[in-house]
Structure formats: C-alpha cells, structure tokens
Symmetry: C2
Subunit: 288 residues, 2 copies
C-alpha cells in the first residue's frame, strides 16, 4: 500500500520504520527534515509538505506534538486537506483533543475520505518494539482496513467508538496515570523523609495493593537519579490540560487530576523542567 | 508457644486462626466477646482483659481499629502493660501512628520486654489466605524470633528499621494507594461521561502504563455496582489522616495525598459512607 507518515520524532520514526519493514511504500514529511534521513535511507520518499504526502499516499498517518501542530498539518495552506481526495484514510496518532479529532473526521468525510484518531500509549520503547497500545476512534470499516497496519506497530488495539473516542480513551489513560505518578512521588518523598530503606519499601509495596506500573518503572529511575524522559513532562502536562478541558465541557469536576495538573504546571512552567521525564515531578518535593 | 491475640475482627480472627492451626496455645480477647466464639471452639482460651492475655501469653499480638483503641488496650487500667513482664514480646498489627508504636516499644523496654509494630496489607482475603504483606519495625532479634509466626500469616515480610518504621512503611503504602484510588475513580468518571465502553477502557488501560492493582480489583466491582468493603473507607481515611499528620511533623507538603484525604472526608464525614469500601469514593462524582 501507498502510505504516508507525517511527524517522524522518536516515536513517529519508529512506527514509520515498522510500516516500511512491512513492505509498504512510504512518503514522509517532518518539520525538521533531517529527522527523516534514516527512513529515506531505508527506502522512504521525502515529500515537501503534508499536502504532498496526502497527494501521493492512500493512507496517511500523523504523529506530531501539540493540537496546534495537528491543526497546521491538516488544515494549513499546504496541509493534508489541501490535497486529500475521496477514498483515502487519515489517521492522527498524536494525543490531541477529541474535538479536533471529530473536526478532522467531519472534514475528511466531506471530501469522501475517512478520518480516524488513534493515539497510543507505550512510549518510545513500545514504539520501537511494536508493542504499542492503540486507542482508536472512527469508522469501523476503515478501522478494519487499517488493522494489518496497526498490527505492525502495536499489540493492544481497540476501537472505542466514533471519531474522538480514541482521544477520550487516551485522556482516561492519562487521568489514571496522574494518580499513579502523584501518589508515587509523594510516597517516595514520605519514605525518604521517614528515613526508610526506600528500595525495600518499593519492593514490598510492589507485591501488594499499592502495586502499579509507574512505581515499578519510575521509582527505580528516581532512586538512580535518572530523570531522562520515558515521557516528557511537558507533553504530560499538555495531555492533562486537554483532559481537564474536556472534563469541563462535560461538567465534571476531577479535583485529584486538577491537583496533578497544578503540580506539573509548577514543574514545567515555573521550574522549567518540561524536558525531564514525568518522574522529575519529585524534584518539586525535594526543593522544599 | 503461648500466644495472645487481642482484637478478633474479620482480619484478626483469620490471623489468630492461623496461629492456632500452627499448633500454638492461644489466649484471646476482644471488646465484643462473641467475635472470639469460633476461635474458642477451635481451642483458644478466653481472657477477660488485655492484661489477662498478657499475663498468660509470652508473645501478644494486637489488631484493633484506631490509635485510641491501641492506647486503651496497651496503656488502659486493665491493659497489656498492667501485667507485662520481662522477656515477653508485644506486636501491634493495627495500622496506627509511628509515634504510638515508638511509645509502646519504649514502655515495653522499660519492663524488660520488647515491642514491635507490624501493620499489614492484603485485606481480609490476604488474612484468610495467609498471604499478608507484613511491614515490621522494632528489635531485630525479636523480629527473627517472630518470623515463624509471621510466616503462618503472611507471604511478604520485611523489617524496615526500629520501632515505628513498620507504621511509616504502611503510611507510604497508603499514600501510594491514595493516588491509585483517586486516579481510578476520576478515570472511570471521565470514561463514563465521555460515553466510552468503560469495561473495554479498563481492559486496555490494564495492559499498559496506567496499570495498577486498585484498577484491576476495584474497577470491576464499581462496574458491577458493588461497594462492599474490601477495605472500609473510614479506615482508609484514618490512615490518610495519620500519614498527613506524620508528613506535617516532618515538614512535608503532600498536596495530592491531601486532596485524596479531603475527598475521603467528604465521602465518610459529610456523606456518611464510611462503611462502604474505598471504591465507594466514586459516588461523590456520580452525585453531581
């Protein structure tokens, strides 16, 4: 199949590589062209704009940073919709707003095309190992058609409803992680202050009702002083802002998530630590 | 060995039963005498006061409700310390304050005896299956001596330092769980409001970075409308209050845990739902 991939950052490049390895023809675009070099060496074709990707490919994936970047590559002057024609499918894998996902689907439909949202979890390691969780929203027939491609990049793939539902599911995922991350850093802060053997505490807690993925994966990194990003704090903050905006629209109050957003705002905006991994949140507590 | 057990509620009775099954002589006391009936039928001996348990047994376990109950059974007129003599060991398994645990250890030591704190996690099911996690603080020699008894009731057993460190570790455990519980109920609240297939969302999230024990165990109960206690909300609130009091003493601010305590206060004190399980927290969100 003729595929397109727009946004070849760490995760996007890994996913695009799997599509190439799957034997597909691939057209690529990225704001910083150099980040497509490895893919072009492996056989991908550079395109000068998102619109030129969409003109040449039948199925176009995108994975960029923020909703405003998604707006630009879809609706910009040289964006995807400037060339998209009937029968094609666009798949936004960026973690973005459900509202924007629905707008993309509506615009695609008006052109006789189809738009899906398919944000992922699993981070760079999941992307590299083709072990991502893929949360999809949109047309069922298009989802079924894409399944062989999703299977090249992920292990847990599910359709959660119409366009936007993939993004909503990703928001649910981030709300859950806001709880495990804040609980984990406060637990470690307490354990250290109480002069407990923190590594032993973590091992014991991991065997019981307090067990969670964040603790298993990030607590050892914190103990080792490793704040490199599995997932950028600035991106997590973006996600929590989207989640709480959406909650507002649904008239929901989520006070624990709101507190988590506030803490990440202090970390990212006030302390300038947005390029740390999410586990860097503990630095807020260590400062005191 | 001649053992004592004070406080034969659901968990205490199960643990005391394992000690009996281990072939030990057992003296029991409980505020409500009827709750010792099954143990007496199995061969335990009733004692009229905690002091009478301590007079007859060499190693005395206690597991009651609140720190004030611990105060009463240890320091009350007919309490353990009214009769405790040299060479004996007292083990408080109640989740209580590190300060009180240290006070018990000091008082015991002045009598030539030893005091340990050994709060547990794992709930009634863990107690029944002898699969508890036991977090111990206190004298190492006494801990070693008790190990064969701890092994009759638990699977993960660890000494975290001097008296009070078992309680501190349990507080760390509860701080972690405050994060997983608040995150979980807010995630489910969001997912339901967004009209997502919630059971599918939970299954997908369980396979990735949002995975945690609370979600795996309590989310299905919430979906089934089951708010019966695995762990009473009123007891969890007690624990969070202790944790935050201790944090205050150490000059720590734990805003996410504080928010969780506030939410459980609304649930328990304002809404009168303290006898629900901790998963009943979601009712606060459903009310709105």
């Amino acid at each position: 199949m003729k595929l397109g991939f727009i946004g070849t950052g760490v995760m996007g490049a890994a996913i695009a590589g799997h599509l190439l390895d799957g034997g597909h023809e691939l057209f690529v675009y990225n704001r910083t062209k150099a980040k497509t070099d490895d893919l072009v060496k492996k056989g991908a074709t550079w395109a000068d704009t998102p619109g030129q990707v969409a003109a040449q490919a039948d199925i176009i994936f995108s994975m960029v940073g923020y909703p405003k970047d998604v707006e630009e590559i879809y609706f910009g002057e040289t964006g995807i919709f400037s060339t998209l024609t009937a029968g094609k499918i666009v798949v936004d894998m960026t973690t973005s707003t459900p509202t924007l996902a629905a707008k993309i689907a509506v615009t695609a439909k008006a052109l006789g095309a189809t738009g899906l949202d398919a944000p992922v979890s699993g981070g760079d390691v999941g992307a590299q190992n083709a072990a991502l969780t893929i949360m999809v929203g949109g047309d069922k027939a298009a989802y079924d058609k894409l399944m062989p491609l999703f299977e090249l990049m992920g292990k847990s793939i599910h359709l959660f409803g119409e366009a936007g539902k993939g993004q909503h599911t990703k928001m649910a995922n981030q709300i859950m992680i806001a709880g495990t991350m804040t609980g984990m850093v406060e637990m470690m802060t307490y354990a250290k202050a109480a002069d407990l053997p923190v590594a032993d505490v973590i091992q014991t807690l991991s065997g019981g009702g307090a067990d969670n993925w964040s603790m298993e994966n990030y607590a050892p990194r914190i103990l080792a002083g490793d704040y490199t990003p599995g997932f950028f704090a600035k991106h997590f903050l973006k996600d929590l802002r989207i989640a709480l905006d959406e909650a507002d629209k649904m008239n929901l109050e989520l006070p624990a998530t709101k507190e988590a957003k506030h803490l990440y705002e202090v970390m990212v905006d006030d302390k300038g630590l947005g390029n740390d991994g999410t586990q860097g949140l503990i630095k807020l507590y260590q400062d005191k």
